[in-house]
Symmetry: C2
Subunit: 240 residues, 2 copies
C-alpha cells in the first residue's frame, strides 16, 4: 500500500469505533521536545547539522487529511523552498496547500489510494521543484543516503529531503509514510523526522540505519523499495 | 476592526485584482531564518529563552483562511498545550483545527468580522485552556508584559503567550492581528513572533517595546487597547 495507514478508518462512512489523541513513540525515537530530543537539537545546531532546519521547520504543517502524508510533506517542502505556485490560494495570496497539488493524479484518488514515490516526484516537478529520486540498492547504500542527508542538512540554502518509509519497520503503528527531514545529529547518526501526521506523533529523532532499513521495505503498490527524494528550487546541483 | 487585514479581498466575490507571494518584513524585524535571526535564536537557546519554543514551534501552522489569524493562533496554542479536544477531527483522530473552534461565535461570522481579544479568550476557555487576559494600562505596563514573556518563554512546561496587536504600528501591511510568541532574546529584548499568516511573513523577531506599543493601539471594534493572553493547560498558576 502506498497510502498512509493513518487513513484506513477515514475511508469508511461509519464513524470510527475508537478515536485517538496521538500515539506513543517507540522509546528509541526521542521526541524533539523531550529532554534527549532537545539535547540532540542543541548539539546538532552547534555542529552545523541544522542549517536547513529553519526553512523547513517554519513551514511544518499538519497534513490536511489522514491520507495526505505525501501531500502534507510536499506542502512543507514547496513552501520551505520558497516556490511561488503562480496561482491564487485564498484571498489575494499565492501559497501551497494540499488543494493546489492537483497534478499527476486526481486528489480524490490520492485520498483513496495514496501516492507512490514516483508519483510524489512527478507532483514535485509539476509544482516547480527540481527533483532527484533514489531507492536503496547496490548503488545507493546507507552511506550514500547518509551523504545526501548531511549535504542537505548542513547547507544553508533551500533544499529539502523527503523520505518514504515503512512505519512498521520503525516499530510505529501504520505502515507506508512520507516525511520531510529537519536536520542531522552526527554523534548519534540520527535524523530529525518532521512527521506531518502531527495528530499522531511529534517530531522525533531516528537513527539513519533504522530509517534506511525502513526505506528498504517494499511498497506493495509498486513492488519496489521505498526511498528518498531531494528537492531544490533552482538550477543548482542536487546530490547524485 | 478586530478582523485580520489579510482578509479584505477574501470577502469579495470578485477575484482579487492583484495577488501576492509574501511581503517584505520591516528591516528592524529580522526573519528567523536570516543570518541575524538565526544568531538571535542560537543565543536565546543557550540563554534559556527558548524553553517553550519546541512545544509551540512543532505545532506552528498556516491559518486556514486569510481572516482566521485568531483561530490559526489558537490551533497552534491548543495543540502545543496538548489539550485533547475530546471530539473527532478526521478519521479516528482527535485534534484541533479551525473547524473545531465553533464556540462563542459562529465560524461564518468570524470569517466576516473576526474576533476581539475577549472573544479569543472565550474560545480558548471553551476549548479547555486556562486563560489570563491582560491589556496595556496603568497596572500592566511594558515591564509587566516583559515579565510575562520571560516567565512563559523560559519555563519548560506547556504554556503559550498570544499577542493581539496592530501590524500598522509595527510598520507591517494590514492592521489587527494575533500571533503566538515562540521565545525571548534577552540581549536585544526581543520576542520571536510566529506569524500564522505564513503566506505573508516568515517568523520574525520584534523588540518588546515595539510590540507593546502595537498592543496599545485601540481596536476599533471594541474601543479598547489590544493586549495579550497567557494560556495554560492545567490548574497551575498563570502570570498575573
Amino acid at each position: 500500500m502506498a497510502i498512509c495507514n493513518e487513513t484506513r478508518p477515514a475511508l469508511s462512512a461509519q464513524p470510527p469505533d475508537r478515536t485517538f489523541y496521538m500515539r506513543p513513540l517507540p522509546s528509541e525515537q526521542p521526541a524533539l521536545d523531550s529532554e534527549t530530543g532537545r539535547r540532540l537539537f542543541a548539539e546538532a545546531l552547534i555542529d552545523g547539522g541544522m542549517a536547513s532546519y529553519f526553512k523547513i521547520a517554519q513551514q511544518f504543517h499538519t497534513q490536511s487529511e489522514p491520507a495526505y502524508c505525501s501531500l502534507g510533506t510536499l506542502v512543507c517542502a514547496l513552501n520551505a523552498l520558497g516556490i511561488d505556485p503562480a496561482r491564487q490560494w485564498k484571498g489575494p495570496w499565492r501559497w501551497f496547500s494540499e488543494e493546489l497539488l492537483d497534478c499527476c493524479k486526481p486528489l480524490e484518488e490520492i485520498r483513496l489510494v495514496g501516492l507512490s514515490l514516483d508519483e510524489v516526484a512527478c507532483l514535485a516537478r509539476c509544482s516547480g521543484a527540481q527533483v532527484a529520486l533514489h531507492r536503496p540498492g547496490s548503488e545507493y547504500g546507507v552511506e550514500r543516503f547518509r551523504e545526501h542527508v548531511i549535504e542537505i542538512a548542513t547547507r544553508n540554502e533551500p533544499a529539502v529531503l523527503i523520505v518514504n518509509y515503512s512505519r512498521r519497520t520503525l516499530g510505529q503503528t501504520g505502515d507506508g509514510h512520507f516525511s520531510p527531514i529537519g536536520g542531522y545529529h552526527a554523534a548519534s547518526d540520527s535524523v530529525l523526522v518532521l512527521d506531518t501526521a502531527r495528530f499522531k506523533y511529534p517530531p522525533h529523532w531516528v537513527p539513519v540505519e533504522s530509517l534506511f532499513a525502513a526505506m528498504q521495505a517494499l511498497d506493495d503498490a509498486t513492488g519496489l523499495p521505498r526511498g528518498w527524494i531531494a528537492l531544490h528550487s533552482r538550477a543548482t546541483s542536487l546530490p547524485n
